[in-house]
């Protein structure tokens, strides 16, 4: 590109970059800075440098370790579920049939509803006394007594996973559907002519060709799952069994007004997410390079 074209390109990109930097980079840098201080919310100007004290306290807090474990477990459980279900839905929506357009729109509804709204909705539906889910299950006979979906320390984690899967499967389905529809259709016909069974076609042709899309979708979704906040905040009973890293960071940042410590937790959260992303991309890249 000639120099003047480059200049023009920069001129066009500059406003967007500026907005990005001010909205994302500045808070990020400030958070990192604050994590080394003892800033309190009502007294921000009086913050002093305490270097690694926050981080040391963080690593020795058993609640933090529990949060990290909860978050990783949550991601490890919900992401595969969402991907499998999403793949299933995408395959079902791939073939044209009557009403497919309508069904595609309907499938998106859980994803479209703001999480706060759908979490509240599920909170009411899952209520142990007046919730409709318990009512239905007891009537049908699957349950003998209503279950405390969100209150019981054992159940609440899996309830949150279930609601997250409900909410995110449409997103995965749509991404995978896009991937499916961009696959070359003629080699599927060739496979039919070659006598390959439908099941074999799926595992030997569709899946390998879908791998790049799958990897991107998985990376996307894992990142989101590691940052989960709203569902946990609204649905859970506040105890340590369901606390995730974001909830922990918020608790210290906002509830306890301990901005320094909360920032340290936020920084650790970002580092963990970044680490996992890098791992993922490296594994993914090797796989994709293998194809080449």
């Amino acid at each position: 590109m000639s120099w003047s074209r480059e200049k023009t390109a920069w001129a066009f990109v500059a406003p967007c970059l500026f907005v990005l930097l001010s909205v994302a980079a500045w808070p990020l840098l400030r958070t990192i800075f604050l994590s080394f201080t003892d800033a309190q919310l009502e007294h921000m100007s009086g913050a002093k440098f305490i270097y690694w004290e926050n981080f040391k306290a963080l690593f020795s807090d058993k609640d933090w370790k529990q949060s990290v474990y909860n978050t990783l477990l949550f991601a490890a459980c919900s992401v595969p579920c969402e991907t499998l279900l999403g793949l299933f839905v995408a395959l079902a929506l791939h073939k044209p049939f009557k009403g497919r357009g309508l069904l595609r729109a309907a499938v998106l509804v859980p994803w479209a509803i703001p999480t706060i709204v759908s979490a509240r909705m599920w909170g009411w539906m899952l209520h142990d006394v007046y919730g409709i889910l318990n009512e239905l299950l007891v009537r049908v006979g699957i349950l003998s007594a209503p279950l405390p979906w969100t209150a019981s320390p054992e159940l609440s984690f899996w309830t949150i996973v279930m609601v997250d899967v409900w909410k995110t499967t449409p997103f995965m389905a749509l991404l995978l559907l896009a991937g499916l529809q961009s696959l070359p259709q003629d080699c599927f016909e060739a496979a039919l002519v070659d006598g390959v069974s439908k099941k074999r076609i799926f595992f030997r042709i569709t899946l390998p060709l879908l791998r790049p899309t799958l990897i991107v979708t998985l990376i996307f979704r894992t990142l989101e799952a590691l940052r989960i906040f709203d569902l946990v905040y609204i649905l859970s009973n506040g105890g340590p069994k369901t606390m995730t890293m974001s909830v922990y960071a918020r608790r210290y940042l906002v509830d306890y007004a301990n901005v320094g410590y909360g920032s340290a937790a936020a920084v650790c959260l970002s580092l963990i997410v970044a680490l996992i992303t890098i791992l993922y991309i490296n594994v993914g890249r090797h796989r994709i390079l293998e194809e080449r």
Binding site: M44, H127, V129, Y130, P146, S152, G238, P240, A257
Partner: protein, 439 residues
Amino acid sequence: MKHLCRFLFCALAFAFGQAPLLAEAGVILKMTCRAKGQEAELCEAAIKEWARKKKEETGTDVKVEIIKLPQSSSESYAFTQQLLGSQAEDVDIYQVDTTWSVFLAPHVVPLNAHFSPEEMAAHFPVAIQSNTIQGNLVAIPWYADIDVLFYRLDVLEKRRAKPPTTWEELAKTAQMIQDYERRFDGNTRFCGYVFRGKSYEGLMCHVVEWIESFGGNVFSPGSLPQEDRVIEAFTFLSELIPKVSPPGVLNYTEEEVRGVFQLGEAAFAHNWPYMWALAQMSGSPVEGKVGITVLPRGKADRESVSVLGGWGLCVSKYSKHQDLAVDLVRWLTRHEEQKRRAVKASYLPTIVTLYGDPEVLAKNPFFLPISKALSTAIVRPAAFFGRLYPQVSAAVTSIAQSVLSKELTPAEGAKQLIQAVETFKQRAQSSPEDPSAAS
């Protein structure tokens, strides 16, 4: 048609452009207000009256915008902290909880100068005291909140049971009723005793009530904790789920408790009095069947202990319209307004004489026994712990939940609770930055 659309668009744009100019013609006050139950409507009605009067008397056009606070008081606290901590000029009046006084002190206008000593003496002394930090009245009390025991008149009568006076009696009666209803009346959803079990400030009030009513002595600064009393209290707690209370109670806040009780699915509910007016409204499934009494005691020879909650109004130091704001605050907390709120929605007034007012008592017969509890109510140690209080609250509620869900034995729970509170007490006392001092 195209021209018409263009004209309309320009006209609209012009009109919107003028809006800020128009607004500057009058004064806008912003106020935070809780929206639980009927609070928001009551507030708006009162404000309308005040604005009208103001216009009549002085000709100034004042608009008051209400910012609705979240239902959870912990959330509201976070919101208020952020605004005041950043010295925002946006909000003039805040509705504040009694436990926030320490934090509020450096950010508000001291109201002593704006209320006469007679006016201040009209309120319950404990209400004024809990809102005073270093001699400054940080917020003027608006209404009191004290936990009471609601019960179903018809259900207790059916089982020939009396309202319990001790926690043990409560557990027995509630269990018996729950058994009966579920097994013989086929109502599988019926619960004996519901309370606020989610890990937040509402549960903290319960825990203080339970522990102190058994004589645990844990929460007052400088007191000596009685471990065996705490174990007694925790034993009571550990046996609640599931025979007396539903397992879901661990996720209940005020509104969930009200939901269960108002739908008719509970025999006893442990909640704030605001529930009375709503439960007795026409159309409610339990209309006319609700009774209120003071909380049970730990033992027959002890006193019933209730935690004093309650909300007040304060004026932000950073407000641009302090005089107008103070005027509104005076209006909203005066005798007539507190009476109106009591009659209409059963909010407990903080002005003592209203507890003898026949109109108020006609609507809320339970105010009489409650008024005694009000004057003997205990205050949560928020002022003592200062900035650490939210953490104390979180730790205490977490332990309580573990005992409720049987993850900790009463003995273990008691040990952990006392240890945690003592540690926080030490931190609060030895903190280099005295949390109760204004910075």
